[in-house]
Every structure is written in C-alpha cells, then in structure tokens.
Symmetry: C2
Subunit: 350 residues, 2 copies
Amino acid sequence: MPDRTNERKKRVTIVDVAKAAGVALSSASAALNNRPGVSNETRKRIAAKAEELGYAPSLRGRSLSSKRTFSVGLVIQRDIDVLESDPFFGSFITGIEEVISHRDYALVLQISKNEEETLERYRKLSLDGRVDGVFLNELRINDERAELIKELDLPAVAINSADSLKLPNVRQDASVPFRQLTELLIEQGHTRIGHVSGPREFLHSFVREHAWEETLKQHCLPIGPIFTGDFTYEGGKKAAFALMRDKNRPTAVVCSNDLMAVGFIQGCKDLGMRVPQDVSVTGYDGIALSTYIRPTLVTAKTNPRHLAREAAEMLMQIVDGGQPQNRTIPPATIVYGNSVGKAPRAENNF
Amino acid sequence: MPDRTNERKKRVTIVDVAKAAGVALSSASAALNNRPGVSNETRKRIAAKAEELGYAPSLRGRSLSSKRTFSVGLVIQRDIDVLESDPFFGSFITGIEEVISHRDYALVLQISKNEEETLERYRKLSLDGRVDGVFLNELRINDERAELIKELDLPAVAINSADSLKLPNVRQDASVPFRQLTELLIEQGHTRIGHVSGPREFLHSFVREHAWEETLKQHCLPIGPIFTGDFTYEGGKKAAFALMRDKNRPTAVVCSNDLMAVGFIQGCKDLGMRVPQDVSVTGYDGIALSTYIRPTLVTAKTNPRHLAREAAEMLMQIVDGGQPQNRTIPPATIVYGNSVGKAPRAENNF
DNA sequence: TAATAAAGCCGAAACGTTTCGGTTTAACAA
DNA sequence: TTGTTAAACCGAAACGTTTCGGCTTTATTA
C-alpha cells in the first residue's frame, strides 16, 4: 500500500506530454512553441495532450535553458514620504503591465533610498539574472546608470533621457508645455515670473528650467528669481517663503511640478496672499491633487502610462534582439485651472 | 587565431569555483551555502576562490534545482485613476522591500482591473512558478482568493482579513480609531452623525461601518444616514450631494477613508456649507493630502509600511516552512486637524 | 529510376544549481 | 592494534526546459 501521507502533486512536464503524444521531447518543445519542424497533425496531437494533461511550462526550467527570465525590472529611487504622494509610478507601472503581461513577462519592482543603492540594485538584478531588461527614469546629468548598464550588457530603456547618454529612450518633451505655461503668464501681463525648480542634477529639472528661461529671454523679460526645490509639497511651501517675502517678488511663478505648486500656493496663503489675485502659479504633471485644491491648478497633464507603454514596447523589442528607434509621445497638454490671473497692477505690501 | 567577434563573457559557475579550489562541486555548494559537511579550512579556500573569480550564484540554476524562485508576488486590483491618488501601495511596497531585500527576495508586482483578472493573475503566478508566496489585501467577504490559494497550495499572507477566511493574517484594527473618531464627534455635541462607507463587499468597509454604528448605538444615538461610496474623491463629493441636501442632514460625517472625506468637504463647500462650522468631517488613512487641504482633516493615520513589514516577515517564515502566528500592529492614531467642530446649535437652510 | 532536397522527427547535451547516497579519512575508544 | 563513528568529501542524479546535429521519411527533380 502506497504511503499517501507525503504524496505531493507532481508537476506535469513537457516530458509527460511528449510521452503521452508518443513523440520526442524535442518535438513537443517545438510544437508547443510554434516552431517549425513538426507537422500540423502531430502539432495538434501534442497540443491536445498538453491541454488534456493540464501542462503548464515551467518558467524555471525555461529560464535556465533559454537564459531568459521573462521579467523586467524597475528600481524606484524615492524617499517613502515622497513616494506616497507621487502618482507617477502608479500609472507608469500600469503602462508597463499593459504591455508586458500580454507577453507573459512580469515586473520586478524595487525601491531604493539613494543613488548608490539604486546602482547596487540594478547591478544585482543583472548579476542574479533576475531580469532581461530594465527601465531607467529620472535620469541625472552624467547618470552613472548609463555606463553601468553598458558594463553589464543589460538591455534598458530610459525615460526622458538625454541624447548624450546614448540610451534607448522614450521622451515626452517638457519644453513645449513649459513654454506655453510661461507664455500664458506673459499674456496675462506678468513681467516678473519666477521659477521653482527641481534638484539641479536631474535632466528633467534642467529641461523645465531651461524652457522657462528661454521663453523669458525671447520675450525680453528679466529672468525672475529661482528657487531650487525638491519636488515636494514642503519644498514648494519653502519656496513661497523664500521668494515671496521680497519687495521685488515675482507676480507669477512657474513650478517644476504640481506638488511644489500646491505647496507654493499654500505658502502664499500662509503669507496672506491670494492666488491668483496677488500671485499666479503653474504646475506640471496634472496630478489629481491639482483639481482637489482651490484654486485649482493651471498645469500640464503628462502621460506616464503612455510613456511606460512605449518604453515597455521598446524594451520588449530589445530583448527580442531588435534595435528600436527612440520614441516620442505628444507633449503634456495644458490644463486650465484657476491659479493664474492678470498681473496685479500695483504692488501691495504684506 | 580565435574568433573574437562573437566572444561572449562566460558566466563563472560554481563548477569553476569547485575546480579552482580543487574540490567537488557538491562541496563547493555546501561551503558557499554555509551548510555542514565541509571543514573550516576548505570552506575558507572555496570562499576565497569564489571571491577571486567573482562568482555570483545563478538564480536561474538555483531556482530550478531548489524549486524556489526567491520572489514574492503582489497583485494590485485598482482602477488606474484610483491608483494614481492612492498612497497605500507606495508605502506598502516599501515595507515589503525592507524585509525581503535582505533575504535576496524580489517583489513581482502586477496590476489588475477586476476581480476575475486578479484571480487569474494569482493563478498564473503560481502555475508559472514565478513566486514562492503572495500577499492578499483588500479582502472581500467570501473572497475567492482564499480558496484559490488553498487549491494552488500557495503560501500567502493576508492583510486585514477575517478569521473566517482562515488565512495567515496581519491586522491593524480599524474599529478602535473609528470608535474614537465617532466619539470625538459625540463629545462635540453632534447627535446626527452620518457615514460614507466603502463598497459593501470589502471586509474593511464593513469593519469601519460597524464600528461607527456600534458606537452610536452605545451612546443611544440614531444611526445617521449612510452613503455607500467607492473610496474615491468623486465618491465623497457625491456623498455630500446625496446626504447634505436633506433637511434632516447630519451635522457630522464619518468617512471611511481620507480621499472620500476630502471630496466630501469639497462637496459641502460647493453646496455653500462651511466645514467645520456647519458640518464636521472625519477621514481615515492619514494621507499627505489630508494636510494639504483646508481645513486640514481629522483622521487616523494608518501604517501600511509597518503592516507590510509584518506581512513580509510572516511570508518569509511560511516560505521557510514555518507556521507563524497571526500578527497585529497598533491601531491607527488620531490626527487632529480642523475639520471637526462643535455641533451647530440651530439648523440653517441652504 | 536514381539522386537530391527538404521536412519531420529524435537523442543528447546544455543551462547552473541542490541534494543525496556512498566512500574515504581522521579521531577515538576498546 | 583494531573496530567504531563521525566528519569530510565526492559523484551522480535531478530540476524542466531549449537547442542542435543527425537520422528517416517523403517529395521533388533530372
């Protein structure tokens, strides 16, 4: 009598399928993967047996043999407090999933606290052979990840990278909407237009700041005061305190993202100013929060999900051995909230 | 002359290490995994050689052989619009990472649109052998996942499950803070206290609603009007329109989460009511947004990160063959914002 | 009809580990 | 000295695929 206590369901392997169909293992493999070299008739028979036995290919066996993992990696470098109020990754991940899940790929997600750890994570993902490729975002000027992935020979797609980094890239240009936002303020009569930027080392901070600056130059306006923020609400608030207590304070401020804009507005309110009567504010991202607050924010709505879809498609192509061209998606579109108004005529003291 | 064009860096395997150290493959394996059966001397020699050759064990080989993947899975069932403004998963994932990364585990993250797809994802994660275990959250009454993971024999840890589902569980009890919030309103003289709940099928909706109801009963107060929301901002706004246009409207409302509370407050404002003078509002979660709005929200701050850490530790134990006890973390603590005030003395008409 | 090509199929190796039973060596007790 | 035991070490199998060279069979061409 067999001992049933320790009986474990044995996995149905491709060997079982091959035996059941009366063919060689290699034929079963070819048939099930739709590769040539097996007649239609036997192909069907094998497929039928596989179905009948409930065969599900083992990812483990497959990846050892094929040297592929059918996974892609994303490392998010974020302070937890920031991550909580950052809607970017939710939609970015959704976009990735939309593409890769159809190809039976999965996403490995990691979170890191600083640049050093981020590099370590990417390195380990590659050395462990955990992923076939990775996404890179929030690139820095001279981002070390660029050379790392070359050193590791790791397929990668970057988001809003710079050409100089020579990475496969998908871009949603920010300079167009930042120009539009700045010109929107100019049209309203503002002449002293400040900027709350992100940390200087980020490429995207730079692009945004640059677009703001160039637009002012082209309109022969002074380059208003600038505050280097950190993309957080608190940072935006600090910016308000730093920029708006000055006699010569700007009458309008272009913020590098929505969260800082919201913080900036709150900071202005705390200082006793009204938005948009005393000061106009714009953001960038188009997060939900920008419609929850009053005044609602004038901003530009980006599309992380679309960005992610394109990036994922590119990565899939690279993993398949292709060399896809860089892609571009349409720029963010302006969202007309209530945080922008006419330039105040005279200066009030607060 | 060797052809260098197609030369690929060959991976350093444990066989190379064994050869270099002059031992059998099996000894090298034992040594590198700190298993007994190898002398200290040779252990050192093997480790040295491994270091020297830059040996990194192949996860692929390891997982095929050991039948482990060193990955855990999480399926997030969320509409993308909701996901964007949901800070829960950011911190939840952070908590998971904090525990599993030290054990060289990685997180596989998937997103699904509906219940059916969610089940499919969990099933596939298991059948593919992609993960060693999974997390389950936002459980429903009679959640189908419970039997699925039993059928699949898949290690799992649930978040705020019900005992009836018989899942390893980690809980942060919501009834305590909901009682406290309700009593806070009662202390302020409110006698008509409504509730904006989450969808009825969720266990956590039920717990929150129940705590509110029981507290009212114990204080011999009428069970105020209830609106079944959907945990979104828009849902909260709708709730305000539904509940607050009535003559006999409540003077205070306990919302099942912050996002609905924020929407509710905006809805009240749109109706011309002041918070907290005309109506008091409470939330639950303690998201950053609750401090960005005015009035700031009276709420209770939950700790998804802590929850996740405990859950991840439990899952690691289960994966190691243990049978851990259910865990509980301290309940959310009340955050005193400005959205609660004394009950208005007379009824105003709007 | 014989030579050739192509399609269909097979067997075996390879991927890089873990695991397990067996053999050798060393240490110790009788 | 000899027998016993445990520790150290080894060899081979197993995990479940993919891949590749070679063998049959059938179809095609001269």
